[in-house]
């Protein structure tokens, strides 16, 4: 009987140095052999590596958790799915089934939502760049439009004349809520009086009906208090508008920006400790609303939460292609997935799980992607046991932004699978091949090669 093999490792002993991180003892090592009961290896055999995998169960569960947190505290709430966070049809469809409307920020997203079957009046159209034609369509289909700048007011007035209707619109505000960086480039500034000027401008034009206020204070906000400030300022402003101009503000759209249980680089505490629960956010928002609204007035509260709902439902399975030793002595692994498909690797430190038990001491190591570029680093320092070639790593949470911001650079984008609530596995986006990339290319006749 042969002895159990461990990859040979030698470690230099250092005395007198503090090591508060420890070196990941064996019991802290994370092994994941399946996602929602479906073996990792089975998924890879069927769809190839790397592979994005979404859990429908987790997605619905997370949505319901966020929804309950708010609907239990305020009687009139709408959730609008932030398409830019993840606009795969299947993911949007799950969330629309759960009752979310669609929040889009471009004509492309608008078209994608319509194609999926979302009625125009269930779409919220945001963003700083709304081409004129898309405004015409949005007004015709009675989408809710949140205006970003004065030019857009003029554009919409033109649309109103053209169609002979009075569009019902909202305006986007930006404000100081005590957090940095303050997002000031979108919408009209509240403190400077610009927002009030926008209302005056809309009122004097007489062609638009102002019915909503929108704001989005930032992203991955870890301070629930900021939302309290945001809500109070929005309510105050809404009443100023109602009292001075006779508009009725029917909705307050507070945007999104709630964090997921992901670990931002540079934050020492684990996300379970650093990230406030969704209940804390809901409590702040709803009590701020109830304490500042007038009796009997319950304008619709709209939430455009994206990351907090989908991030933790997404996993990426990637394969160790090679191991190497850097001149610094650090161990390095080359994976088949890099920043090309993991855009969020630039600011998150993912949870890394291994698909099998690996014997041996954990070593500090760096995880590189497959690109021939220096920036392609998935994790610049983590502790893993010596991984044999072919080991699968399961990275999470990766459900937000990666499948929208991924780029087709050097490599094809991989497949995306969805595991249903009963363990059924569906391919929801095929892996790309050459035809996807060359379909739009045209080679002039005179450049045709004759080799």
């Amino acid at each position: 009987m042969k002895e159990v093999y461990e990859k040979p490792v030698i470690l230099k002993l250092k005395t007198g140095m503090m090591n508060k991180f420890g070196s990941s003892p064996a019991y802290a090592r994370k092994v994941r052999k399946d996602i929602d009961g479906v073996p990792v290896e089975e998924l890879i055999e069927e769809f190839g590596s790397p592979l994005f995998v979404f859990s429908e169960k987790k997605l619905r569960q997370k949505f319901r958790e966020v929804k309950n947190a708010f609907t239990l505290r305020y009687p009139n709430v709408e959730f609008s799915w932030s398409y830019k966070t993840n606009y795969l049809d299947a993911i949007c469809a799950v969330l629309h089934q759960e009752g979310e409307t669609a929040e889009v920020v471009s004509e492309f997203e608008y078209e994608k939502a319509r194609r999926l079957g979302v009625p125009g009046n269930q779409i919220i159209y945001n963003g700083p760049y709304k081409p004129y034609d898309s405004l015409v369509t949005a007004v015709k289909e009675r989408a809710r439009i949140n205006i970003d700048h004065f030019e857009e007011i003029a554009d919409l007035e033109k649309v109103a004349d053209e169609l002979g209707v009075k569009p019902r619109v909202g305006i986007r505000l930006n404000m100081d809520t005590g957090i940095h960086p303050q997002w000031s480039r979108f919408g009209f500034n509240l403190e400077s009086g610009q927002a009030l000027d926008a209302v005056k401008r809309i009122a004097s034009g007489g062609k638009l009906e102002l019915v909503g206020l929108h704001c989005h204070i930032g992203t991955f906000i870890l301070d629930p208090h900021a939302y309290e400030v945001e809500v109070k300022k929005m309510v105050d402003f809404a009443y100023t508008v109602e009292d001075q101009f006779g508009f009725k503000i029917e909705y307050l759209d507070i945007g999104g920006g709630f964090p997921s249980k992901n670990r931002l680089k540079g934050i020492y505490l684990p996300p379970e400790v650093a990230v406030p629960s969704v209940d804390e956010f809901a409590e702040r928002v709803c009590s701020a609303l109830l304490s500042s609204l007038r009796p009997g007035d319950y304008p619709k509260l709209i939430l455009e939460s994206g990351r907090a709902i989908v991030d933790e439902a997404g996993y990426l399975i990637t394969t160790v292609h090679a191991a190497k030793r850097l001149p610094s002595g650090l161990k390095a692994y080359v994976l088949d997935a890099g920043v090309n498909i993991l855009f969020t690797a630039f600011w998150y430190k993912f949870n890394i799980e291994i698909d099998r038990e690996v014997h041996g001491t954990s070593e500090p190591c760096v995880l590189y992607g497959p690109l021939c570029m220096n920036i392609d680093v998935v994790d610049d320092l983590t502790y893993l046991p010596p991984l044999p070639r072919g080991t699968r790593l399961i990275l999470s949470p990766v459900g937000a932004y990666n499948v929208t911001q991924w780029m087709q650079f050097i490599r094809y984008r991989p497949a995306v699978a969805l595991i249903g609530e009963n363990g059924e596995v569906d391919l929801i986006r095929e892996a790309e091949d050459l035809t996807d990339i060359v379909r739009r290319e045209k080679l002039p006749e005179r450049l045709k090669l004759e080799w």
Binding site: K2, E3, V4, Y5, E6, K7, P8, V9, I10, L11, K12, L13, A323, R325, P327, S328, G329, G360, T361, P386, P388, R389
Partner: protein, 83 residues
């Protein structure tokens, strides 16, 4: 005499370098390899010995041996005759 031969190595995998005062620990397989290296065995002999004693293919053992030698080199433990 090469650097490796001067190292004090005990059976539990504790290594002391009398020249620099540095100490190291190695795991079971690492210790196995160091003992062979001290005896001046060739890489091929070590690979064979590893695959006979442990549950590992010669191919994997060879790959890991290269990495292990690389680690020794980076710690300055391989020089002279062992390089």
């Amino acid at each position: 005499m090469g650097k490796l031969e001067r190292l004090a190595v005990n059976d539990e995998g504790f290594i002391f370098d009398p020249e620099t005062g540095n100490s190291y620990t190695v795991n079971k397989t690492g210790l196995f390899i160091i003992k062979f290296l001290k005896e001046g065995k060739s890489e091929e002999e070590i690979v064979k010995a590893l695959s006979e004693k442990f549950d590992v293919s010669e191919e994997d053992a060879r790959r890991d041996l290269v990495d292990f030698m690389e680690q020794l080199r980076l710690y300055g433990l391989l020089e002279g005759e062992n390089v």
